[in-house]
C-alpha cells in the first residue's frame, strides 16, 4: 500500500513539471524536436497510461533507459548500489559501536560530568552539517596529515572518512536512545528487584538493564540505516564516490528522469523494507510482542 503510493509519488514527481522533453533536448530545441522526443519516450500518451506502463515495467526491474548515459537504468543502479550499501553498513556498524557503549556510560554516570560531556558531544555531533564535517576531515586527514585519501574508494582506506561522516548521522540519535533507555531501566522496578536479589552489579547492568534498553536501539538501527543511505547523496558528492547517491545527484542536475524515478523508488522500497525489519527485530527481541 505504502509502496504503491510512493510509486505514484515518484512517478508524479518527475512528470509534474511537464516539460521533460525540453529539459532533455535543451531550451533552444525546436518544437519538432520536442514532439519527436515526446513520441519516442511515449510522453504524448495520457498520464495514467504512461504510469501503468512505467509501473508495470518497473515491477519487472525495467526502469527504461537513462537519457544521459544511454544505458539501461537497472544496470546503472546495479553498478552504483554496492558501494552505497557497503558504506551504509560500515557506517551503521560504526554508529552502534560508538553510540551504545557511550550511551551506557552516560546512563551509569547519570548527572556526572561524564554524562554531561557525552551529552554535549552528541549535541555537537547533531549540529555539525555532514558535508562540512566531510570537508573538514578531508582537510585534516587528507590534506593536513596526508593519512587518508581525500576522494574515491581505491582501497579500504578510502572507506574510513565517508563512513565516519555517515555514522555521524546516526550516532547522536542512537546515543540518546541508549542513554535514556538505560536511565529508565536503571530506575525501573525490575532493576530494584535485581538489586534486592543481591545480584552483582555487572549482571544487573549487563543482563537486566541492558537487554531492555537495547531492544529499541537495535530495532531503531534499521531505521537509522535508512537515514544513512538517504544521507549518502551529500557524502558521496563530498568524497566523490560513485554510488547511487552520486548518480542521483548527477541525474537531478541533468534532468535524467528515468534514473531519478528509479533511485527514489529504490530508496523508498529500502526504507519501507528497513522499517518492516525494524518492527520485526523489535518484536523478536521483546517477548511481550512475540507471538502477536
Amino acid at each position: 500500500m505504502v509502496c504503491l503510493t510512493v510509486l505514484i509519488l515518484s512517478f508524479g514527481l518527475s512528470r509534474a513539471s511537464g516539460n521533460l522533453a525540453i529539459s532533455i533536448a535543451g531550451a533552444d530545441a525546436s518544437a519538432e524536436d520536442i514532439a519527436k522526443i515526446n513520441h519516442e519516450l511515449g510522453l504524448d500518451r495520457p498520464l495514467p497510461v504512461q504510469f501503468v506502463d512505467w509501473a508495470n515495467r518497473a515491477a519487472h526491474g525495467d526502469f527504461g533507459e537513462s537519457f544521459l548515459f544511454h544505458e539501461k537504468v537497472s544496470s546503472l543502479i546495479e553498478e552504483h548500489l554496492p558501494v552505497t550499501i557497503t558504506l551504509g553498513l560500515i557506517a551503521i556498524a560504526v554508529a552502534v559501536v560508538v553510540a551504545v557503549p557511550f550511551g551506557i556510560l552516560a546512563a551509569l554516570y547519570e548527572g556526572t560530568y561524564i554524562d554531561v560531556a557525552v551529552g554535549v558531544v552528541a549535541l555537537a555531533g547533531q549540529a555539525i552539517p555532514s558535508f562540512w564535517l566531510g570537508l573538514m576531515l578531508i582537510l585534516w586527514f587528507g590534506v593536513g596529515l596526508q593519512w587518508l585519501p581525500i576522494a574515491g574508494l581505491d582501497d579500504w582506506t578510502g572507506y574510513i572518512l565517508p563512513s565516519i561522516v555517515l555514522a555521524f548521522v546516526a550516532i547522536p540519535v542512537m546515543l540518546r536512545m541508549t542513554r535514556s533507555g538505560m536511565v529508565d531501566a536503571m530506575r525501573s522496578d525490575y532493576v530494584r528487584t535485581a538489586r534486592a536479589k543481591g545480584l552483582a552489579r555487572i549482571s544487573i547492568v549487563a543482563k537486566h538493564a541492558l537487554r531492555n534498553a537495547a531492544m529499541p536501539v537495535v530495532a531503531v538501527s534499521a531505521v537509522q540505516l535508512g537515514f544513512i543511505l538517504g544521507g549518502s547523496v551529500v557524502t558521496e558528492v563530498v568524497f566523490n564516490i560513485r554510488g547511487v547517491g552520486y548518480l542521483a545527484w548527477e541525474s537531478i542536475g541533468k534532468g535524467d528522469f528515468p534514473v531519478i524515478q528509479a533511485v527514489v523508488l529504490l530508496f523508498s522500497i529500502i526504507f519501507v523494507g528497513l522499517t518492516l525489519l525494524s518492527d520485526l527485530v523489535g518484536a523478536a527481541l521483546d517477548p511481550r510482542l512475540r507471538g502477536r
Partner: protein
Amino acid sequence: MRTRQIPLLVGAVIVGVTALVALAAPLLVPHDPFAQNLAQRYISPAWMAGGSSEHWFGTDGLGRDYLSRLILGARISMLIGVATIILSGTIGTVLGVLGGYFGGKVDAFVMFIVSCRLAIPLILVALTVVFMVGSSLTVVVLTIGLLLWERFAVVSRAVTRQVCGLDYVAAAWAAGCSRLWIITREVLPNIVHHLVVIATVDMAIAILLEASLSFLGLGVPPPLPSWGLMIAEGKDYMYFKPWVIEIPGIALAVLVLGINLLGDGLRDSLGANTDR
C-alpha cells in the same frame, strides 16, 4: 538545579543573538554583501596574516565582504528555520491531533500518510523538486516545510492519545463540550510543550537541510549568501584558504547547536520527554 539550566541559557543566548542579528542584518552589515570587487578576492580574516580590519572575516572569491555575507546568511537560516516549522508544524500537528483524538479510521489514515512520508528519501526528493520548480527561497521553504512534518505528526498523535486517555478530557466530554472545544481547550494546551521541543528539533533539521541543498547547488540561489552555499562556493578553494569553509561551517554548527541546546533545556524544564 542551577547547573542543569546552563545549556538552556547558552542555547537561548545563541538563538537569541542570531535572531537579533538576522532581524537587524541590514543595519549591521559593514559592507554591501553583494558588492563584488575582483581586485580583493580571498583576503584573509583580520586575525590571520594578510588580513585587514577592513574585512574582519576576509572576502570571498568574488571579493565580497565575508562578515556581511555571514550576517545576511544568518537571516536566511533563521528565516528558513522559522518559516518551515510554521508550515510543517501546522501540517503535522493538525494530522497528529486528528489521528490521536479520533483514533480508528482517521488514525489509520494519518499513520498511512506518515508512513508514506517516511518512505520518501528526503534529500533526493527535495533536490528534484527544487530542480524542477526552480530554486528560490520560497521554493526551498515550501519544499522543506511540506516534507518535514512527520515528527510533529508522530509526536502530537502520541501525546494527544495520552492526554485523551486522561479523565479530564472525559469530564469535558461528559460536561457536553464539543469536539472542537475539547481539542482546542483541553488537548492543545496540554501538548503544546511537546510541540515546542519538536519545533526546535525540526528547526535545526530544516536549517541543516537547507544548507545541504544549497551545498549541492539546489537550494537558495546565488548570489544570496546561504551558509551552505558559501561552503559550496569556497569548496574548491579550501585547500588553500581553509577559513572560507571553516567560517560559515562554524556559524552553522554553532547556530544548530544553540537550537539543540535550547530544545534540550526546554525538554528538561517543560518535562516533555520525546527521546523515544
